[in-house]
Symmetry: C2
């Protein structure tokens, strides 16, 4: 066997330059949480900011907090903060609404940038809401159509032609964890005369994202996975500086107006990123996100990426070494540079196996039809957690304890 032993793993943790960050998170010592790619873990700072917002600001100052606590500018303040994590210079990111709604804004804006073209391309293996929203956009535009590319048919690259206005593409596949080359694909999309809309849900906060460097046009992403903003915390949208001032989107609510408090009868969109806001944002959720983002002060994203690859490499090596012949197949690219911060394993009985893992304190998630999905958040996970997860997984598979009938029951929400 060539995989590291417990002592070697302890050394890896001891030498981890990000190891000290774990103490900022409210993590149970009894669990290994490998579901930060679904819902991130709160920091103490996030909870403290939330309390401050609820008590000192809402209860304490009431309506005055819109000014005195800076509520109104939170979307652009937090947008710039996230911009720093995804390679976007200031003034190009705003936090608002949901990923789904931001996809809607971005696709409409993209279609308006290419008025003679009628097609949106998306990947059939996208997280479904991207496809559903693309259908919604198409439903409002006569003659427009959605073309699906991906695993079972032509690739996106093969589908690019003169009718394509916009391409909606995932930076990291939500199921397999496969990572796209953003710069290369954006260049191909531009060469075909189309506009690139990147979904960063599974890459923002998981690895360095170079939106400006790649020449991306639009991007969207959520803040409740690797950014740890809290359940359903508001999403973000990126609009490249070169498109601002000339591009519009139809969710033209008052927060996107050039002068929202002039209460004018007609809409005049802001010339900057604020135009991609719509209505009043959920400030309490936004303030938890603000607290959550404090952890990134001083984090080196290249150290983050190195640790992410090391964690997932270790997991793959340990699983393949110790669980060989136990029915698992790797669905994630083996080459570290080609994956995000997660590992997906196929197992014919993935549902009960995952329930058995959760019952033993190893929290991952299930993705239909038969994927065990494990997310590795470098901010708070230890190499020792990886070892423990594999210890438990091996035991469950060898003992077949997952066959216990209580693990067969499916929950309403997965």
């Amino acid at each position: 066997m060539t995989f590291p032993d417990r002592a070697a793993i302890e050394t890896m943790d001891a030498q981890d330059p990000l190891g000290h960050l774990r103490d900022a998170f409210l993590l149970s010592p009894d669990e290994v949480y490998l579901d930060g790619n679904s819902l991130g873990v709160p920091t103490r700072a996030a909870q403290d900011e939330l309390m401050r917002a609820a008590r000192d600001e809402w209860a304490g100052q009431l309506i005055r907090s819109w000014n005195s606590a800076g509520w109104f500018d939170l979307p652009v303040e937090l947008g710039d903060r996230i911009g720093g994590l995804i390679g976007a210079a200031a003034g190009q990111v705003v936090v608002a609404d949901t990923t789904s709604i931001n996809v809607y804004k971005a696709l409409h804006a993209a279609m308006r940038l290419r008025p003679g073209r009628k097609a949106i391309i998306a990947e059939s293996n996208s997280f479904p809401t991207d496809l559903y929203i693309a259908e919604g956009v198409v439903s409002t535009l006569p003659g427009a159509r959605l073309r699906l590319g991906g695993v079972d048919g032509a690739t996106i690259e093969e589908m690019l032609d003169g009718d394509v206005a916009a391409v909606l593409v995932n930076h990291v596949d939500y199921r397999t964890g496969a990572l796209r080359d953003m710069a290369a694909l954006t260049a191909r999309i531009h060469a075909a005369g189309a506009v690139a809309v990147w979904d960063l849900c599974h890459s923002a906060g998981a690895l360095p994202v170079g939106l400006d460097a790649a020449g991306a046009d639009f991007a969207v992403g959520c803040t409740y996975k690797y950014l740890n903003g809290g359940p359903g915390s508001p999403a973000f949208i990126y609009v490249a500086q070169r498109h601002q001032g000339q591009v519009s989107q139809p969710l033209s609510g008052w927060w996107g107006h050039a002068r929202p408090f002039a209460f004018e009868t007609g809409y005049e969109g802001d010339t900057g990123i604020r135009r991609f806001q719509c209505g009043t944002q959920p400030i309490l959720s936004m303030r938890a996100l603000k607290g959550a983002l404090q952890i990134w002060d001083g984090v080196d994203l290249h150290q983050l990426r190195a640790k992410s690859i090391a964690l997932t490499d270790l997991f793959i090596r340990l699983v393949e070494g110790r669980c060989a012949g136990l029915g698992l197949t790797l669905e994630t690219p083996r080459e570290g540079a080609r994956r995000g911060s997660q590992v997906a394993l196929h197992h014919d009985h993935a549902w009960p196996v995952m329930q058995a893992l959760i019952a033993r304190g190893v929290i991952g998630d299930f993705r239909a039809p038969s994927t065990l999905r494990f997310g590795f958040t470098p901010l708070y996970l230890r190499y020792a957690d990886v070892l423990r997860a594999v210890d438990v997984l091996e035991d469950i598979l060898r003992s077949e304890s997952w066959r216990d009938p209580r693990f067969a029951v499916k929950a309403a929400v997965t």
Copy 2:
């Protein structure tokens, strides 16, 4: 003088059947808060629910809380709860997104119900985001147009013709407080073959709203004013049962899918109210709203309405009796049955007068160009608060203390 004296006002408070509710709110004893129509006051229950959600659910159970804490069903659970306050039977209201976004959904759905018609009518004196969103809807529909009715031109009733698909109308005018007769106007709109979309931002929680009884088609509203849900708490949308299952809207995100966790490639909308959801909601803000709604258990909405009219009547009588000749003009209907739960007063120097009031602990707000706006939330205001507000207002106007230069400075957000 014919207005009640202090003793009479104390008797009114002593006999107030809703007087005990005030203790549930986190109100400063040093202030009179007349801005609950902009941002409501938190209850202890709202803050407690928020803490529980952040600590026990997010930190404590992490991803499992989507099932175990009922997060996924909160939008319909709270929708039904609000439905009880606006005359909507269960299954017709969902809490999601913002008022602006819900106006967008409702107007698109309304246009789809009347495919041969091209016009949306809205009122020029609407809260501007309604008009801006109507512009946005029109911008996506070839041939569609927005026609503005209202104070300076033809009334909505006069504009109804065979080209009108949808009418977007305010139940209570956000500035003047004028209250529309919902049943009568809905009947007129239906007689013209159009669909009625009601904006309840200034009536939900302020007075009984009979959506089902009026035969309304769609309605939207916010939850952070008279429902006290917290800054930017998610909005709601009502879709009459008879339209559900046959009407669609283009913000077709995964939360509106018939089977959101089947992760299907194509969109198939839910046949109920869930179709008017889109993406993942801000759960922390949603849980504060859940706590806020507890106060309504056992509140008789007719007692609420009676107190609202009594508070605003008292305010108008005291102001007109004691501030006569001091430059104030009533902008709100004098007849109680024709107004919501607010009073608007014109003053040529409304901005500094309001700043002087706020500095003295009477919190109302300013609306351009020259309106002093005072909201009266019957759940937590006392008749003695009305008296104190008028005492301070009279003193500021008689002494002209509002001329202090520090009151001339306009804040960024009003």
